[in-house]
C-alpha cells in the first residue's frame, strides 16, 4: 500500500515575528500546502493521506478557518484524508470536531475521533488512530494498540500525535509522551507521528513527517511530507521525504567589522536561496562599524537585502558604532554641529556613561541627518 504521511498543518496560525503583510501571505501559503500535499498524493498515486494531528492551530477556530482546509481537501475526491486530533486541536465534547461533524463532511474525509481499529484499503490494512482528547495527556494514547487483534496478514498502521520520550527536543516535556517501542509492541508496520515540525526518522517504522510549511525561525528546514510504501504486514516500509513547503525560515548570526564584512554578508545572504523572496531571515549582527560603514550597512543589508527577502528580522543591538575622525569631519570641520558631534562621541566612548548607547545612536543620527542635508 502507498500513502502520504503529513501532520502539523496548524491552520489559523498567527505569526508574531513578522509584519501584517507577510503574515497574510504565510497564512495563505499554509492552506496552499494542503493542495500541494493533495497534488503530491495524486502524482504519487497514493490514495490515502494520513494527517497525524494538529490540522488546526487552535481548538476554537472561526468558522472560516474551520472550513478552509476542508474545502481544500474536498478538491481532491480521489484521495481519502484521514484526520487525527492533535494537541492543538484535541477532540473535546462539542469541540471543533463535533462542529465539523455537525456541518457535514465530504465523503473523502475521515475523522478519527475515537481510538480503535479502522479497516482501510478494503480489509488489507487496519488503521489504529490515537486521537488526543485534551491538550495535555499524561497517558500514552497509543497503548491500546498493543491489545487490538487483527489477522496476521493485515497491515497495522498506527497514527498518533506527541513526543517520543527519548528524542524530544525538550526533555522536560512530560505530557503526550509516546512509547518509542510502540511499533514493535503493537506489531505496527508503520507508526505515523505528528507534533514535531521538523521531519524526523525515529526508526525504520516510526517517522515524524514534519510540517508541510515551516512557521518559525527555529525550523531552519524545508517543508516536507512523506511517501510511505508498505509491501506486507511485516515488511519494512519504504519511506521517501518529498518537499511541499514554499517558504524557508532561516536564522543567521554574523560578525561585521568593516566594509569587507558588509560586502561578505551581502553576498552570503544573497546566496542563501535562488529565490530570496521565499526566505524569511532572522539576522543577528554583532561587531563594530564606523559611521560611514554603518550607513553602508543600512543601505545594503537593511535596505536592499531587506527588500529582496520575504522578510528580514534584523537584530543589530550588538552592532556597535566607532566614529572616526573622518566620520566627524564628514559632519563638519568646525561649528557648533561639530562641537555637538564631539560631545556625543565622548559620551558614546565613555563606558561609565549610562547614555553611551543612546549617544552612539544620536551621533549616528547626526551623521545621517547631515548626509541627508548634504545630499539635498
Amino acid at each position: 500500500m502507498r500513502f502520504i504521511h503529513t501532520s502539523d498543518w496548524q491552520i489559523g496560525k498567527v505569526f508574531r515575528q513578522v509584519d501584517d503583510a507577510t503574515m497574510a501571505v504565510l497564512q495563505t501559503e499554509r492552506l496552499e500546502a494542503i493542495a500541494r500535499v493533495g497534488r503530491l498524493a495524486r502524482e504519487q498515486r497514493a490514495p490515502l493521506v494520513l494527517v497525524a494531528g494538529d490540522v488546526y492551530d487552535r481548538d476554537k477556530p472561526s468558522d472560516r478557518t474551520l472550513e478552509q482546509p476542508i474545502e481544500r481537501m474536498r478538491a481532491f475526491p480521489e484521495v481519502r484524508w484521514h484526520l487525527l486530533p492533535g494537541n492543538h486541536d484535541s477532540h473535546q465534547p462539542n469541540g471543533l470536531w463535533d462542529r465539523l461533524r455537525k456541518k457535514g463532511l465530504p465523503d473523502n474525509i475521515v475523522l478519527h475521533l475515537e481510538p480503535g481499529p479502522q479497516a482501510v484499503e478494503g480489509a488489507a490494512a487496519v488503521l489504529l488512530p490515537a486521537p488526543l482528547t485534551r491538550r495535555h495527556s499524561l497517558a500514552d494514547p497509543t497503548e491500546y494498540m498493543d491489545g487490538v487483534a487483527t489477522p496476521d496478514d493485515v497491515i497495522r498502521i498506527g497514527l498518533a500525535h506527541g513526543s517520543i520520550a527519548e528524542f524530544g527536543s525538550d526533555g522536560l516535556t512530560t505530557h503526550n509522551k509516546l512509547d518509542p517501542a510502540r511499533a514493535e509492541r503493537a506489531r505496527l508496520a508503520y507508526l505515523a507521528l505528528g507534533d514535531w515540525h521538523r521531519q524526523q526518522r525515529i526508526s525504520d517504522r516510526v517517522w515524524y513527517s514534519g510540517t508541510p510549511e515551516p512557521d518559525g525561525f527555529d525550523e531552519d528546514a524545508e517543508g516536507r511530507a512523506l511517501l510511505v510504501e508498505i509491501e506486507g504486514a511485516r515488511a519494512l516500509p519504504r519511506v521517501t521525504p518529498l518537499p511541499v513547503g514554499r517558504f524557508r525560515w532561516m536564522t543567521l548570526a554574523v560578525s561585521v567589522n568593516g566594509e569587507a564584512d558588509v560586502a561578505a554578508l551581502d553576498g552570503r545572504v544573497r546566496g542563501l536561496d535562488a529565490e530570496l523572496a521565499r526566505v524569511l531571515l532572522h539576522l543577528k549582527v554583532e561587531g563594530a562599524l564606523t559611521m560611514h560603514q554603518r550607513v553602508a550597512f543600512d543601505e545594503r543589508i537593511a535596505g536592499s537585502i531587506g527588500a529582496a527577502l520575504r522578510y528580514l528580522r534584523l537584530d543589530d543591538t550588538r552592532l556597535g558604532i566607532t566614529p572616526t575622525a573622518e566620520d566627524l569631519d564628514a559632519i563638519d570641520h568646525a561649528g557648533f554641529v561639530r562641537a555637538a558631534a564631539e560631545s556625543l562621541k565622548g559620551k558614546a566612548g565613555d563606558p561609565a556613561d549610562p547614555e553611551r548607547e543612546i549617544a552612539a545612536l544620536a551621533l549616528q543620527r547626526l551623521y545621517v541627518l547631515h548626509r541627508r542635508g548634504g545630499a539635498a
Binding site: 474551520l66 462539542n94 568646525a334 557648533f336 555637538a340 560631545s343 556625543l344 543612546i358 549617544a359
Partner: protein
Amino acid sequence: MKIRALELENFRKFVRPVRVAGFADGLNVLFGPQEFGKSTILAAIRGLLFERYRSKTEELRRMQPYDSNAAPVLAMEFDLADGRYRIEKRFLHREPYARLTLPGGARIEGDPAEEELQRRLGFAEPGMRGASEASMGIWGALWVTQGASVALPEMVEGSRRTIQDCLESEVGALAGGARGQEIRRATADELGRLVDRRGKPKGRYLEVLTQSVNLKDELLPALRARQQEIAAELDGLQRAEEDLRRATATDEDEADRKALAEAQVQREAAMRLADQLKAAEAALSLAEARAKQTEEEAGRRQKIVEAIEAAAAVVATTTELQTDARARDAALETEVAKLRSAVQDSEARQGDAERAVHRLRAVADLARLEEEILGLEGALQRAGSAQTRVNQLAGQIDAIKIDQASLTRIQRAARQAQNARTALQALATRVTFEIDPSALGRITIDGRPLSGPGERVSVVDEARIEIAAVGRIAIQPMIKDRETLDHDLQKGERELERLLRAAGVADPEEAEARFAERQRLAREAEIAKTEVAAYAPGRPGLDPGPDALAAHVERLRARLSASLAELELSKAPGRAEVERSLEAAAAEARALSTRVEEARGAAVAGEAALRDVQAKSATAQANHGAATAEVQRRRREQEAAIASESDEALARRRDALRQALAAATAERERIARTAADANLALIEARIQRLTAKQAQRRDHIEHVRSVIQGHRIRIGEREGEGIDERIARGERELAQLEEEKAFLDREVRVLQLLDAELTAAERTAKERYMAPVVTRIRPYLQQLLPGAAIECDENFAITAIQRDGKPPELDRQSGGTQEQIAVLTRLAFAELLVDRGKPAAVILDDALVYSDPDRMERMFDILTHAARKAQIVILSCREALFQGLGAKRLGIEDL
C-alpha cells in the same frame, strides 16, 4: 549715520515750518519743556524714515496738527559714509511725495526713493498698519521713545539679523552656519513628530502607547473573558449532557413504578375496610338513638308525677295565705285614716305661727327706721346752725373792702408821698432858734409859738417869724426845683388820699388793721364750713349739705307713716320689745314644723304597710289559680301517656334495646382494630411521593434538555467567531506594539539627546561670537558698576549681570540702573554697527531721569566716549540735568 538737520511743517504742534539744525558729530542735546514738543522730534524722525508716504494709517493721522487736516511735511538731512542725503516726504495729501537726494545731488522720487532709503539704512517695508518695531529693525532699538528707555532693547527679528550680520562676518565659521540650523531644525522636527514641547508623547508614539495599553488592559482581557465564557458554556453543556444521561437511565424509574403499583393495591384494601367500619358505626348510632328515646320517655313520666305533687302543695298553702291577708287589710285602713287627719291638724297650726313671725319682722323694721330718723334729725339741726354761722361770716367779710391788692397799693402810695416829703425837707432852710427861755412867748413862727428855746425849724415855704415887739422876720428859702418837688409831693398825697377813700379807711394803719380782721373772719368761716360738711356729709344717692339731708329725713318720715298705717299701728313700738316677741314666735314656728314632719312620716309608713298586705293577698290568689290549673294539665298528660303504652310495656322495651346497643358497640370495635393495621394515610403518602418523584424526573429531564438547548444555542452563536484566533491576533499585535514602543522610546531618547547636544553646542558657539557685543558693553558697565559682569543670550538680550561674584537678576536692579544698562547696551550696539561700517546713531528721549548725580557723571563720561564713534542725540526737558554733559545744544528755529 549723522543727522544734520530736520524740518517739520504741519506736524502736531509745529504748524508753521521749523528747522532743527547744527547737529554735531558726537553729542547733541535738544532741551525743551514737556509741552515744547521734543518728543515730537523723535516721532517726526521715525515717521519720516519708516512710514510710507502714501500710507494713511491711524498712526500717521496722529501726526497731523491738532484739529486740522493739514498735510504734514517732513525733511531730514543726514550723512552716511558716502556723503549727505536729504529725504523729504509729504503725508496725507492729495499729492503725497517722497524725495531722496543722494550725495552728489541725484534725486529719486516716490516708491524708488523709499526703497533706496530702506536699503541704505537697513530696515524693512512697513506692514499694512504702518511701521512697527519689527519693520524698523535695529533703529527701533536705537531710537527709543520716551519711557521705553528703561527696558532693554527688544531684539526683534530685524534688529537681531542686523547685529548677527555684523557678527557672522567675523566669526561665521564658528556658528555652524545655515546647515547647522538645518540639522537642528530637522532634529527638532523629527522629535516634534513623537513628543510635544514638554516631552509628552504624541502622534504615532502616543498611538502606540495608547493602543498597547488599550490592548493589554481592555481588548485582551475582554477577549479572554469571552473565551472563559465559551469554556464555561462548554463545561456547562458537558455537565448537562451527563446529567441527562443519568436522568434517563431506566433502572431507578422501573423500581419506582413497581412500588407505586403495589401501594395502589394496598390502598384499595384499606379503603374497603374503611367502608365496613363506617357501616358498623352507623348501626351503633341507630341503637344508641333508640335506647335513648325509651329512656327519655320513662324519665318524662316520672317528672309528670312529681309536678302534680308539687302543684297540689302550692294550692294548699295559698288558700291559707289569702285568709290571713284579708283580716290585716281592714285594720290597717282604719289606722291610716287617723294618721292623715293628724297631719292636717299640725299643718294648720304651723301656718298660723309662720304668719305671726312675718308680722313681727315688719314691725321690727319700723322700729329701726324710726331710730334712724331721730338720729338724722339731730345731725340736721347742728348742720343748720353751722350753715347759719357760715352765712353770717360771709356777710362780715364782704363788708370789709380791703383786700391784699388794695392794701399793697395803699402802702406803696404812702411810701411815695413820704419819699417826696423827705426830698423836699432835705432841701429846706434850717432855722435854729436859740432863744432865751424868757423870751419864748414873744416869738411865733407863722403864727405858732415856739415849742422850746432850742427849736429847729425846716422852712420850705415862706415863713414869718414874729418877735413880739420886735417885728417880723420873713424867711424865703431858695430851693432848687421846688415846684417839681412840690408837684410830686402833692400828687403822691392825692393818690394816697384817693386809695384810702376807696377803701373806706382814714390812713394806712387802719387799712392794715381792717385787712387783718378780714383774714380772721375768713378762717372762722372755713371752720364753720367744715362743721356743716361733718354733719351733712352726703353719700351715694344723697348730696352733701343740710338741704339735701332735710329732704331725705322728710322722705323717711313719709315711709314710716305709710308702714304704720299698713300695720294698723298708731306709733312704732320699742325696738327691744319687738325683737323679743319675734324671737319667741320664731321658736314656736320651728317646733310646729318638726311636728308636721313627724305626723307625715307616720302616715306614709301606715300607707306602705297597707299596700304590702294588699299585694301579698293578690299574689297568693294568683298562685292558687295557677297551681290548680297545673294539677289539671299534668293529670291529663299522664292519662294520655298511659293510654298509648302502659308503664310495664315501656320498661320491657327499654331492656331489649339496651342489649342491642351492647352488641353493636362490640361489632364496631372489632372492625376498627382490623382497620388500624392497614394505614391508608401512610399508603397514600407513599403513592404521592412516588408520583411526585416521577413527575420531578420528567421535569428534570425536560429542564436539562432545555439547559442543553440553551448551551448549544449560545455555543453555536460563539464558536464560529474563533475566539482563540482573535486572542492570538491580539497578543501578536500587542507584542508588535511593544516592540515598536521600545523602538520609539529609544528613538525619542536619541533625538532628545541629539537636540540637547546641538542646543548646548550652539549656545556655546554663540557665546563665543557674542563676545564682540559683550566686549563693548563690559568697559562701560565696569565704569558704571565696578565689579559687574554680563551675560548676553543669543538674541542679544542681557540675561544676567554679576556683581562681586553674586548673580543679581536684572529685574531686581533699581529702575535707574536698569535704564543705564539699557542705554549702555544701545551704545554698544551702535558702536558695533559703526565699527562694521553700518549706519547707526542713538537717540535718547528723556532718558536717564532716574539717575543720581554720581551715576550721572559716569554716564556722561560713557556717553562722551561712545559719541566718538556714533552720533548721540539727547532729547530732554531737564536742562539742568544735562548741563555737565558738554553737548552741542540744538535749537528749533522758524524757517
